[in-house]
Symmetry: C2
Subunit: 348 residues, 2 copies
DNA sequence: CTGTTAGCGCTTTCAA
DNA sequence: TTGAAAGCGCTAACAG
């Protein structure tokens, strides 16, 4: 069968013998149109299955009521919570959301930015991991006065707002909690050796140890020795499991572990239980994120809750503000507090 | 500060004194342009931070090299795997992907469809749960010859391809496995009472029981009695935990449970272990999906693997085919096999 | 109440 | 090798 092209405004205008403008008015509900004409137009619209061409409309109106969200990956609760919160906030204001995934590839980051810009989204929220090429392109976009907000990452540009949880403080607090419980050999699972400096949770851990005069033992810091080509995604159960195995084989094994996130913590717990050890008596475990999973582990997991929804909401709000007030906007850089949730994986 | 508008083709044409067409040729690398002119254009493009306006370009070209994916929710491995696979396949062919989330709301489904159509995506992949209004709108879109493929759900239209896992057979196989192990009181956790008929996994469970002349005990089928307003999302740990609690309080408790998905199974396992019972000796557990989690539960979870990536890949391929061959396309409805993965939650 | 004109930014087509 | 004209589908702005 031959596909026929969708009907246009002029098509229906022609068939009922009025000007395109009249049809436009009916379709948009703007301006005066006689009841009779309106009805005839409506009927033709229905019959010809007409839908306005948004691209043409956008070209004219110079806005799309659409914003883009770029995510490094979609398979982790952080991304999904952010996405949900952003979508909700935008939807309440009549904006649509297009989500792009970059799989932590600089090339895909750029492709995502470009395609969103090409579609004239009104603004972009970026929650990818920082990388040089991507950041450069993003700066170019911000330079062109397209509203941009970044979430959960650094980005320095005088036209770009940022929102992030205080991962450093969260890591500090988690570690401090373990220290307060009397632990002296505290491991960290899920370090990324590639951008260790950017991993604030690890930095918080290190700072807490230092502040309490505990020596940093590199053997207690496990993670993947990824190469540059395999940029790290979200740390998984597998990483936690394998990391814990390695820690358990140490001559002087840790009495507590702080895992980079809850999934990693769950993997570590599996390894601990498999070894016939008890949590928290033999080894205490702390996670990060307070995912829904955390209440359902055995024992329930002590973890650091970061305000994910709030990050998404704020990102949406700041972006909408930027979109609304095209000039004179002050740049905001918000850092949100985390909260330690103590459960039985550290305190019996 | 005042935001200046992004430079247009004419802007840079004007500044270096050539015709817009010449700039277009340079930017697109089409047609002959003298080396000198090319360089001057390139320089201006760089200096003025010019990027072609995709909307205008789309309007002219009548295609966007972009496809939309509509997801009911983003917080479950099914959605994320599909999305990843789709993205990968599309990216390999130079297409961009815009993902929309509808939160299982018919209104948002429609909003997502419309915004994608408005942006002139070349095609749409739909993986939402079916609902009347949404399906009607979708049919209208397919009627207008916009390529559409649905994944993991039903949709009947002579221009729409569909891909789905054989959830019925998967449910049947899981239940059969438990029956083969000698279980007679087998529970189902995570039923949805609202569209029970659509829940193929449950139907498979029922069919297996019937085929083996085992009575169906309604008390062994737990789930949420949701109202129409709270359309069910992905079944969670909580549902599994609470459902199992209820089953355990039964005078004649089940010796095996088939959970609607792995998360639900994990919740059930927690409840079983809390009750001091052993898995699989006291109660055997089967999940569905074979999420990464399944290997890391204690004991590892027997589950039904459905080919998620494959579903996404096929969806992308079929859509691209439809996009390429605008006419004479035969409609495909693929049902993919599931595979039972036996682990220690059913066989010690 | 309805129509005309013009143009959004780009590219196709034809001409120079 | 470059340019001019026309138009993609729609809508502001102004007439009538």
């Amino acid at each position: 069968m031959i596909r026929k092209k969708p009907a246009t405004l002029s098509d229906i205008a022609a068939t009922i013998g009025v000007a395109p403008m009249t049809v436009s008015r009916v379709v948009n509900g703007t301006g005066y149109v006689s009841e009779l004409t309106r009805e005839r137009v409506m009927q033709a619209v229905a019959e010809m299955n007409y839908r306005p061409n948004g691209v043409a409309r956008n070209l004219k109106r110079q806005k799309t009521e659409t914003v883009g969200l770029v995510l490094g990956d979609i398979s982790n609760p952080y991304s999904t919570e952010i996405a949900n919160a952003v979508r909700e906030s935008l939807s309440a204001r009549g904006f649509n959301l297009f989500i792009c995934i970059s799989e932590h590839s600089a090339k895909e980051d750029i492709a995502a930015f470009d395609s969103l810009v090409d579609h004239n989204v009104d603004g972009i929220i970026v929650a990818t991991r920082s990388n040089k090429e991507g950041d450069e392109r993003l700066a170019g976009i911000a330079d062109r006065n397209i509203p941009v907000v970044v979430v959960g990452r650094d980005f320095h540009h005088d036209q770009v707002d940022s929102i992030a949880a205080d991962n450093f403080a969260g890591g500090f607090e988690a570690t401090q909690h373990l220290i307060d419980l009397g632990h002296k050999r505290i491991a960290f699972i899920g370090a990324s050796f590639i951008n260790r400096g950017n991993l604030k949770r690890l930095q918080g851990y290190l700072a807490a140890l230092t502040e309490h005069n505990l020596a940093v033992d590199e053997r207690l810091i496990t993670g993947r020795r990824e190469t540059l080509s395999e940029i790290p995604g979200y740390s998984t159960e597998k990483i936690g499991y394998e990391g814990m195995k390695r820690l358990l084989s140490l001559p002087n094994r840790p009495t507590a572990v702080f895992a980079r996130n809850d999934f990693t913590a769950v993997g570590a717990m599996t390894a601990i239980k498999e070894a016939g050890l008890s949590i928290p008596d033999d080894i205490a475990v702390v996670g990060f994120d307070d995912t829904p999973l955390a209440v359902h582990t055995l024992p329930p997991l002590t973890t650091v809750r970061q305000p994910m929804r709030l990050q998404g909401q704020l990102a949406a709000e700041l972006l909408l503000k930027r979109i609304a007030e095209k000039d004179t906007v002050t740049t905001e850089n918000r850092v949100l507090e985390c909260e330690l949730i103590v459960r039985q994986s550290t305190v019996a």
